[in-house]
């Protein structure tokens, strides 16, 4: 079996486990909804422009709820002691990384599908440039997933990782967060998509660098 097929087998396994427990995706969605509500209660006031808050609320909510998923991403491997068995497959550790990143991307995608309309409704914002925003979300989620999966893999078995994961992840993905917020603000203001191109390019470069580095670093971290 080649590495890609193995990644597919491992992804299908993770989906099956996720479908049986339904805990992780359930908590992620619930946490994301709660975040939007808390931000709405905290920021919304008479006369304030909701558009001002939507970009930040959207991206911070996605980052926070994504962290909930990352903390449990390697849980099935840790519980049953299967990490080394899977990571030392004939293809190396990268199929495991790919499968885990795929699962995290799927979960954050589902959360985004809930959070985006919810945020727009709560803050009564109107989206002017959906194309650029969707592109920014795809690039942003891909980047945070790559870095997040890497960080979650690095912190397997580490004490206080619930605290350490955000401490490592958030500063690393700060460029994505800034670019995502800027692009979203431009989309809400109805500015031409060209104005967001620099930010989108930055996100694409960030993703390309981590797509090349993260699977390799993940293997090195596991000693493989």
């Amino acid at each position: 079996m080649n590495g890609l097929r193995l990644a597919g087998v491992l992804f299908a396994k993770d989906l099956r486990i996720a479908a049986r427990s339904r805990e992780v995706i359930g908590f992620m969605v619930l946490f994301a909804i709660l975040c939007v509500l808390v931000f709405a209660f905290g920021f919304l006031r008479e006369g304030a422009s909701a558009d001002e808050f939507v970009p930040g609320v959207l991206w911070v909510t996605l980052l926070f709820s994504g962290t909930v998923g990352l903390l449990r991403l390697f849980g099935p491997e840790e519980e049953g002691g299967t990490l080394e068995l899977v990571a030392t497959s004939h293809a190396g550790a990268w199929p495991l990384f790919l499968a885990k990143a795929g699962l995290q991307l799927l979960f954050t995608g589902i959360v985004t599908a809930v959070v985006l309309p919810l945020t727009l409704i709560f803050f009564q914002a109107t989206l002017q440039g959906a194309g650029a925003l969707i592109l920014a979300l795809v690039l942003g989620l891909a980047g945070t997933t790559l870095v997040g999966t890497l960080c979650a893999g690095l912190l397997i078995g580490v004490r206080m990782r619930e605290v350490l994961l955000p401490l490592v992840l958030y500063p690393t993905v700060a460029p994505l967060l800034i670019a995502g917020v800027k692009t979203t603000a431009l989309c809400l203001s109805g500015a031409p998509i060209e104005e967001a191109s620099t930010w989108l390019l930055l996100m694409a470069v960030f993703d390309a660098v981590f797509a090349a580095l993260a699977p390799w670093l993940h293997g090195r971290a596991l000693g493989i």
Binding site: K13, R20, E79, G81, T82, E84, L85, V86
Partner: protein
């Protein structure tokens, strides 16, 4: 003279300034069933993990068919060495059957449904239990499923750390039969255990004292 399938020479491992294993030598041949005993904290699990390539030694060499372990592809080592440790090496939310199929596929071995049933018959997992998530199993049942997981691969070196944990009398008898049969079929087996039933069935008994191996026979 038959060459060793798995061999350690001048092996050393230190935890800080304290050497747990020092100048240790071991040769495990194909078809040989060796049991390793030692006091708590003597370094049995450390030695097993080093031999399985799960830890790096402080000094000395470990070779698989004369090739130093660190020079080999980890995937190749993973395929050659079957591991059963303190945890069963199973996905707890998958069934016993799904686990066996999954790990066989990961190891690059194709197993049919009939072969999976045969393996699960051998380890004594009842048909009614095979399609239940492993999380619902007792420790002994998880250990049986873990054994089936190793048997489904093509590993020709088995490293088992305290495999009798949680097994009842019938389970231990089954395990010993499997170990004896597989050793006779050519697999090199090293089992860390204090269990006298295991020691009695093994070809050789090594005792770990002060970081070195002594022939207990």
């Amino acid at each position: 003279m038959t060459r060793a399938r798995l061999a350690a020479r001048q092996l050393a491992w230190a935890a800080g300034p304290r050497y747990v294993l020092l100048d240790l030598a071991l040769a495990l041949k194909g078809g040989e069933f060796v049991v390793l005993s030692g006091a708590n904290g003597s370094g049995k699990t450390t030695l097993m993990r080093l031999l399985g390539g799960r830890m790096r030694a402080t000094g000395g060499t470990i070779a698989l068919d004369d090739a130093p372990l660190p020079t080999l592809d980890p995937g190749y080592v993973g395929r050659r060495i079957g591991w059963l440790g303190h945890k069963p090496g199973l996905y707890l939310d998958l069934t016993a059957r799904e686990n066996v199929v999954l790990f066989a596929r990961i190891a690059g071995a194709a197993v049919s449904s009939a072969e999976v049933d045969e393996l699960l018959d051998t380890v004594g997992l009842r048909r009614a239990d095979r399609d239940r998530p492993v999380r619902q199993f007792s420790r002994g049942m998880q250990q049986r499923a873990g054994l089936a997981r190793v048997m489904a691969t093509s590993a020709d070196v088995w490293l088992f750390d305290e495999p009798t944990t949680g097994l009842d009398h019938d389970g231990r008898a089954m395990l010993l039969q499997v170990l004896r049969d597989r050793a006779d079929a050519g697999i090199a087996i090293l089992v860390a255990s204090h269990n006298h039933e295991v020691i009695n069935v093994a070809d050789r008994h090594l005792h770990l004292v002060d970081g070195r191996l002594q022939d207990a026979a």
